[in-house]
């Protein structure tokens, strides 16, 4: 934003003291010869604009319009007046002896578009030398969008955003340019809300103006240790410049359904099987229950947003209030949030000193039927497992249970006999002071304090299975979490233009301190249910020694110094260099706690060269190259030092004492994971600005990957040491293309396409100190009763490889026929089912992503269609693996369990197993977001604009995948596992209304 002010104020030759500034406007000036007055209005609404700067060009003579947009100024007859106001295009008008000069300013949409938010500042789009993508609010995904990530879905090449869960408390999963770590943590991008670290839900989507994504290392390196997974810079709606008071209100009403309902055996199917003799008659319990129907509902969600803006050029403010009442498709799964934000700007001393104060408050609560978590996926599993001939209720009105079956509980009872709520409060206070002591120097101090408190209460009644079967006699848990984050950032920016040379030098310091505390208690054996989770002290479990109490706290800090130099020569050649020097408490007492994260990038605006003058169809062409280093910290603290922890109990002299045991080997050589990224790019605008886009190629080498390396114990105190051993490479291509296909007054069609690839390879798992003889490890788990690992991480191979037995057929006895890794076909008896018989069965990470967004506008009607696809990857379908095997009698199964396996008439006889039969291709193309909207012109005297819209999300999916949704969990080291307890993905329909007063 600071940049903008430089254009408003003409350069002054002399600097002044602060006190002098106060008197500047009234007293400064030269000999006056005539008086000019008039009214300044906006071009859209024609309303007067207060706070517009009116300045005589080449002088320090200037005034500001009053509340009615009126001004009066004494100038020389041949003077040129400059009218400027933030958010409007600056106009220069020759006075020409006129005494009355009414001016209309047009809203400056371009100037906002052209500024890209980069780390600690902004840059003009044409001067950017890194892979940075900007998404403005009008391009956001519309409809029932619940976090920042979802707004960006399909909008940025190389950024994969998915919503694998339909849980109303779930958040987006974001992956930028592939997997970057093998420890599993630290996969989220750094999200900054107006420069201050936050998360996907710090501010509601309605409150966001634009989002900039720093994709490559040369852009993100200024954020050092936190930059590896990309940086998402969220700019909230701001008050700025002069406003006529304005109120915007929007409402969204939504409902949802499961994206693709699983086809399970019904009660009729059971009876048919009994008749056919494939099922014992005693499985028919006489009722017909659709268990999925019994635990789901048609949810209704509503979102209201109210934004108020006002003020003048000196002091202006914005306030928003947002309410989100969300319901999930499962009973008792919801999420209710009220958030408010106030943002106040004040500028004084001739705009040399500016203040910004912001307050964000968010109050959230949601029902929990999981112990401390919203919806328990195990309940969903029970609805799938449940015999459809069972009734929900027994004859006496209690819930019908079959206690002898393993892992078998009435799902409806689980929902109604548990009760809980998580409540939280988040507050963020931030203040920023911007001081410009010299024309070219800007000093900026930002401080913020964020606090988050959560309380959790959960109870299981005496009718819950935990009492009926497990004898707890009532169960309650209470928990609480507190986090606090303090941030201080000081920056100084000096900008100088000398002839064709344009320099910007930035220097800064950042100190961040985090505090986390959590405690949790549980109790059992209650005299009554009536208090739910509110009277945890009533339980007798604490006296019986069967109550659990836990506590955890940590405090950490992060200290960084950073600097950046931008140099532009002749508007053609652009050079950027930055460095961050950073340390964090995770490396407390490590040999080298400070890391250096340099970056350099360069751009060449080819289209500015004279030899391009004749190539008319190219409007703008820029080549970019960048290299940058970013880091990822160790997720746990104190990795460098040996740790002792209190371990298991031992009976010593008749009393139980807690043992004191080593909990970690020291590794003083511990350091950051470092990603070295090279990015080559091209930005182009061609055919009369009709087509714009970019192409980027990147190679990211991640070195010093952290890994828990096996070491012999003894002599080591602990059998693993966390060490920087691995090397991994991601490389890929990103292409973005925007076309204004048709642009007439009544009809417009714009389309936006992007495509990206990523290929990943683990190159090493050793270093000089730590050498493995095994160059792989297995990861991911099926869970019981199959109990095996699903994935392999192997040197020379990509992350995400499924690793299991390969089946090629079924024999006449209904047993699998296998293919060994050597390619030999073996019968079930011959095949030894050992680890050595496993092979790679596919990979869970898509190699290609494509997105295609279309906007059509006909007069006041608009239509948005966003499509997305991911290709060349596999999914392990857990639902089929666990519930398609007909040998499983005691749980319900998928209807597909009656289909032939490999065309074999004999049903499958082998026990449940993880093999290639359940690994499916995931490739999909989704028509995801469809929005139809109608914009009303001014209605009456009060309503300035209004819009009504209908939209859908996750609308149609084209795929061969047989599960609920092919967009599965792609996080961590076992991507592509479509877990059986996962809250199903949903399709959403939304009706929206926006009104501005």
């Amino acid at each position: 934003m600071q940049q903008f002010f430089f254009t408003i104020w003409p350069k002054r030759k002399r600097s002044r003291g602060l006190l002098m500034l106060v008197f500047l406007i009234s007293f400064c000036g030269y000999g006056q010869e005539m008086s000019v007055s008039g009214t300044v209005t906006g071009d859209v609404d024609g309303l007067p604009l207060p706070g517009v700067n009116v300045i005589e060009k080449g002088t320090n003579n200037g005034v500001v319009t009053n509340m009615d947009g009126e001004y009066s100024i004494e100038v020389s007859p041949q003077a040129v007046l400059i009218f400027s106001s933030l958010g409007f295009e600056t106009r220069e008008i020759q006075v020409n002896n006129q005494n009355q000069l009414d001016v209309q300013l047009s809203e400056d949409l371009e100037s906002l578009d052209d500024v890209v938010v980069v780390g600690y500042g902004t840059q003009r789009k044409e001067e950017i030398t890194s892979a940075v993508s900007s998404v403005d609010s009008d391009e956001f995904v519309k409809g029932n969008v619940n976090d920042v990530g979802q707004l960006l879905q399909g909008k940025v090449a190389g950024l994969s955003v998915s919503q694998p869960s339909g849980d109303p408390t779930g958040t987006s999963q974001i992956r930028l340019r592939g997997t970057s770590t093998i420890l599993g943590g630290n996969t989220d991008p750094l999200i900054l809300i107006d420069g201050i670290p936050g998360d996907f839900r710090t501010v509601p989507p309605e409150d966001i103006e634009s989002i900039d994504v720093l994709k490559d290392g040369s852009a993100a390196a200024i954020y050092g240790t936190r930059g590896t997974n990309g940086v998402i810079l969220v700019t909230t709606k701001r008050a700025s410049g002069a406003y006529t008071n304005r109120v915007d209100y929007s409402v969204n009403l939504s409902t949802q359904q499961i994206a693709n309902q699983l086809d399970l055996l019904t009660a009729d199917d059971y009876r048919r099987q009994i008749e056919a003799g494939t099922r014992e008659a005693n499985w028919d319990l006489g009722s017909s229950t659709d268990w999925m129907d019994a635990i789901t509902r048609t949810p209704f969600s509503q979102v209201h947003n109210l934004t108020f803006r006002g003020g003048n050029q000196q002091t202006n403010y914005l306030a928003t209030a947002n309410y989100r009442g969300l319901e999930g498709i499962f009973l008792k799964s919801d999420n209710e949030t009220f958030s408010g934000r106030v943002d106040i700007n004040h500028s004084m001393f001739d705009d040399k000193l500016k203040f910004n104060i912001g307050i964000i408050g968010r109050s959230n609560n949601y029902t929990t039927t999981g112990n401390g978590s919203s919806f328990n996926g195990y309940t969903y599993r029970q609805a799938i497992y449940r015999n459809p001939t069972e009734p929900i209720y027994a004859d006496d009105g209690s819930f019908f249970e079959q206690l002898g079956n393993l892992d078998y509980e009435n799902p409806v009872a689980r929902i109604y006999e548990s009760d809980g709520e998580n409540r939280s409060q988040f507050n963020r206070y931030n203040a920023r002071i911007i001081y410009e002591p010299l024309d070219d120097l800007t000093l900026n101090a930002t401080g913020s304090l964020s606090r988050y408190y959560q309380t959790r209460g959960y109870a299981e009644s005496k009718n819950h299975i935990s009492t009926i079967r497990d004898g707890l006699n009532g169960y309650v848990s209470n928990g609480t979490t507190e986090t606090q984050e303090k941030l201080l950032e000081l920056t100084a920016q000096y900008e100088k233009k000398i002839n064709k040379h344009n320099f910007t030098l930035l220097g800064g310091y950042s100190y961040q301190q985090n505090y986390y505390r959590d405690y949790y208690m549980e109790n059992r054996d209650f005299p009554t249910d009536v208090f739910s989770y509110h009277n945890i002290d009533l339980g007798n479990g604490i006296n019986e020694g069967r109550a659990n109490v836990e506590g955890y706290s940590e405090k950490s800090n992060l200290i960084g110094f950073f600097s950046r130099l931008n140099y532009i020569f002749d508007n053609k050649y652009i050079l950027m260099g930055s460095v961050r020097y950073e340390a964090a408490s995770q490396l407390y007492r490590a040999h080298v706690p400070w890391g250096t994260f340099p970056a350099v990038s360069a751009g060449w605006r080819v289209s500015e060269e004279s030899f391009m003058d004749n190539i008319g169809f190219i409007n703008d062409l820029k080549l970019r190259a960048g290299y940058g280093v970013t880091g990822t910290p160790n997720s746990d603290g104190f990795g460098a030092v040996p740790l002792l922890g209190y371990g298991d109990f031992f009976n010593y002299n008749g009393t139980w004492v807690r043992t004191l045991v080593p909990s970690q080997n020291p590794n003083p050589n511990l350091k950051w994971e470092e990603k070295h990224e090279t990015n080559l790019g091209l930005d182009y605008t061609i055919f009369d600005n009709r087509i714009t886009g970019s192409v980027d190629y990147y190679v990211r080498d991640i070195q010093d990957l952290l890994f828990d390396f096996s070491v012999p114990s003894p002599p080591n105190l602990y059998s693993t040491t966390r060490a920087n051993v691995g090397v991994m490479r991601n490389s890929g291509l990103e292409v973005a293309l925007n076309i204004n296909i048709y642009e007439q007054e009544d009809f417009q069609w714009t389309t936006n396409m992007n495509f990206s690839t990523n290929s990943n390879k683990l190159e090493s798992l050793s270093n000089d100190l730590y050498q493995t003889t095994n160059d792989f490890f297995t990861t991911g788990g099926t869970g019981p009763p199959i109990q095996t690992t699903t994935h392999i991480v192997e040197v020379g191979e990509p992350i995400g490889n499924f690793y299991g037995f390969k089946v090629v057929g079924l024999d006449e006895e209904g047993l699998w026929i296998y293919e060994t890794p050597e390619g030999e076909t073996q019968s079930y008896e011959e095949f030894s089912h050992s680890f050595g018989d496993k092979q790679v069965l596919g990979n869970g990470l898509p190699n290609y992503y494509a997105n295609w967004n279309n906007t059509f506008r006909y007069k006041n009607l608009d239509l948005n269609i966003s499509m997305r696809g991911a290709f060349d990857y596999q999914i392990l379908n857990f639902e089929r693996m666990f519930t398609e095997n007909p040998s499983m009698q005691h749980y319900n199964r998928l209807a597909s369990s009656e289909e032939n396996v490999f065309g074999q008439e004999t049903p499958l006889e082998a026990p449940l197993e993880y093999n290639s039969y359940y690994v499916e291709d995931g490739d999909f193309w989704k028509i995801d977001n469809i929005t139809v909207g109608y914009n009303f012109d001014e209605i009456g005297n009060y309503i300035k604009t209004a819009r009504i819209s209908i939209s859908s999300l996750n609308t149609f999916t084209f795929t061969n995948y047989s599960g609920i949704d092919p967009e599965v969990d792609w996080s961590g080291l076992s991507p592509g596992n479509d877990g059986r307890d996962k809250y199903p993905a949903t399709r959403t329909f939304t009706l929206g209304l926006n009104v501005s007063f």
Binding site: G17, L18, L19, E280, N282, W283, N405, L406, D407, Y408, P437, R469, D470, G471, L472, L490, Y509, Y511, Q513, Y552, E554, K555, S556, I559, A584, S585, Y588, P593, F638, V641, P642, L643, L644, G645, Y646, D648, F650, Y652, G654, T659, L660, V661, P662, S663, Q664, P712, P714, P715, L717, Q771, T773, N774, P785, Q787, S834, F835, G836, Q889, H890, E913
Partner: protein
């Protein structure tokens, strides 16, 4: 002008102050202790010494622990595939069929948990010797002796399972140091000398204060165990030395044979005078998952109602039918140590099967299992030697006896038998049998000649696919092996006894075929080979 400069400089100065004052890394640690910033006081001694004992409990009883490596590989216990699972990638079947690989979980766990105990012992010995742990000289001597014998006990486990293992006794080693592998003989020599050199400094109190720890009597029993198997470990038998060690325990007069074997295994068994060394377990303290859950592994889910358990059992582990067949039907060790026949709720109602093709029919355990690859809920006798208290959680509160007096007597009897004193041996065996045949004391009588006969275990493949007859008459002193099976089943030791009697790698049972004599040693685990280049794999693997 001046004023402005002052302001400007002032702000620059403020920047600098803020910057300089905030470059220190925060070092507040609320959850763990940075080891070298911690100085123990006398209050911490118990916590430090105890840390070395926990690994005994873990290595024997946790999932895929030594209990399983000793029992699932033998001829008494099997985990067949069940309607609700228990295939788990074939790991239990692999133990049964002796087809484990160096990366088998039981192979890995038996090594890493045991060495973890050795690491803790080495550390405590180092810290005690260096004076880091505050103790007076007398305490120091006793503590060093105790921890050294404890360490020897871990090496005994490793010697028994893996044979040739790295011998590591130092804590303070240079960076990058990798221990050297020693032969089974060298480990044997080390274990024997550590016990004999330190035994006099051990407490001779058998009371509560040394409960679950190595006092003199636990150490003599351990020594007797090592001597009993000396021929397996070194090729040279040590029967006389075994008798001497047993005699020390017998002569101490501290221990008795419980009149009823049950008393050793009841929930509140900590006061049993038959127990010499036990792993103390309490569901409120030893809360690690799988700490002691034989009942969860063996009972059917429906049996939750039999014992009012807090959780549904997982229905897997059962007795091999051929083993059950060896019992005299009147032997109370059959009728009391196994769960069979119709199952009832705690209030006496008939329980039905809930899983598999017998669902809805009465749940009655029969002495029949189709094969390791297939079984239903009704198949196989279940394990009930350890009392399952009504209302138990997933952890049984019974302490686990590692060494008990009956074992000392039987070790002495075996050594006598093998040194030609079969009648003396028979007297001891008869004494132990008496409490199992209270209603028919004649059946308790056993003669020296009988003990020299072969085993009555009807070896041979016996499952729904195969049936062969190998018998057991050719096994020297086989009848004594039978006696060990009857008395000590479910106690996590069958493999060791079978190896000593030459059965382990030579006979077939249930779905198991012999798979090479090298299988009497486990392979060095893959992860150990990966992390220490000094190690050589055991022969055959």
């Amino acid at each position: 002008m001046k004023k402005h400069k002052f302001t400007y400089k002032g702000i620059v100065l403020l920047f600098l102050i803020a910057t300089v004052s905030c470059t220190k890394l925060e070092d507040t640690n609320y959850n763990t202790i940075v080891a070298d910033e911690f100085t123990p006081t006398s209050d911490d001694v118990a916590a430090l010494i105890s840390s070395a004992y926990v690994d005994w409990r873990n290595t024997l009883l946790l999932w895929n622990g030594i209990w399983r490596s000793q029992e699932l590989t033998g001829d008494e216990v099997v985990i067949p595939a069940r309607p609700n699972g228990w295939v788990d990638g074939g790991i239990y079947k692999r133990l049964h069929q002796h087809t484990w690989t160096p990366d088998h979980d039981a192979v890995e766990q038996g090594w890493s948990r045991t060495y973890n105990g050795i690491t803790n012992c080495n550390k405590i010995i180092y810290q005690t010797e260096s004076g880091y742990i505050p103790m007076d000289e007398e305490q120091k001597t006793a503590a060093l002796a105790e921890v050294k014998v404890l360490r020897a006990s871990y090496y005994y486990l490793l010697m028994d399972l893996y044979g040739n293992v790295p011998l590591d006794t130092d804590f303070d080693v240079p960076e990058g140091y990798l221990p050297e592998q020693k032969s089974r003989q060298e480990i044997y020599d080390f274990v024997v000398s550590e016990i004999t050199e330190n035994i006099d400094d051990l407490s001779d109190s058998p009371g509560q204060e040394m409960y679950g720890r190595f006092n003199k009597w636990a150490a003599y029993t351990l020594l007797a165990k090592v001597y009993l198997n000396a021929e397996v470990y070194t090729g040279t038998p040590q029967w006389e030395k075994c008798i001497e060690a047993c005699q020390e325990v017998i002569d101490s007069g501290n221990f008795i044979l419980e009149p009823d074997q049950k008393n050793v295994f009841i929930t509140e068994n900590q006061n049993s005078k038959e127990i010499i060394f036990a792993l103390a377990i309490d569901q409120n303290y030893t809360t690690e998952w799988n700490t002691f859950d034989i009942h969860m592994q063996t009972l059917q889910p429906a049996n939750q109602a039999t014992y009012d358990l807090e959780q549904s059992p997982w229905g897997g582990m059962a007795a091999i039918p051929q083993f059950i067949d060896t019992f005299d039907p009147e032997d109370s060790r059959l009728t009391e140590n196994f769960i069979y026949g119709q199952q009832y709720t705690s209030s006496g109602e008939i329980l039905n099967s809930t899983l598999g093709s017998y669902a809805g029919e009465p749940l009655a355990f029969i002495n029949e299992i189709p094969s390791v690859d297939r079984s239903e809920g009704i198949h196989g006798y279940r394990f009930g030697k350890f009392e399952i208290a009504l209302g138990s959680s997933n952890i049984l509160n019974n302490d686990f006896p590692v060494f008990r007096y009956a074992d000392v007597l039987m070790m002495k009897a075996e050594s006598l038998l093998r040194t030609g004193k079969s009648e003396e041996a028979a007297t001891i065996v008869t004494e132990i049998r008496e409490r199992a045949f209270k209603s028919n004391p004649e059946k308790a009588e056993v003669t020296g000649a009988e003990l020299q006969e072969g085993t009555i275990y009807d070896y041979g493949l016996r499952n729904e696919n195969n049936s062969t007859n190998e018998g057991g008459e050719d096994i020297p002193y086989g009848r004594f092996l039978d006696e060990l099976g009857w008395e000590f089943n479910q106690e996590g030791r069958r493999r060791q006894d079978m190896i000593r009697f030459g059965v382990f790698t030579s006979k077939s049972w249930f779905s198991h075929n012999p798979n090479g004599s090298y299988r009497s040693l486990y392979p060095i685990p893959q992860s150990a080979l990966n992390s220490n280049s000094n190690l050589t794999q055991n022969p055959g693997y």
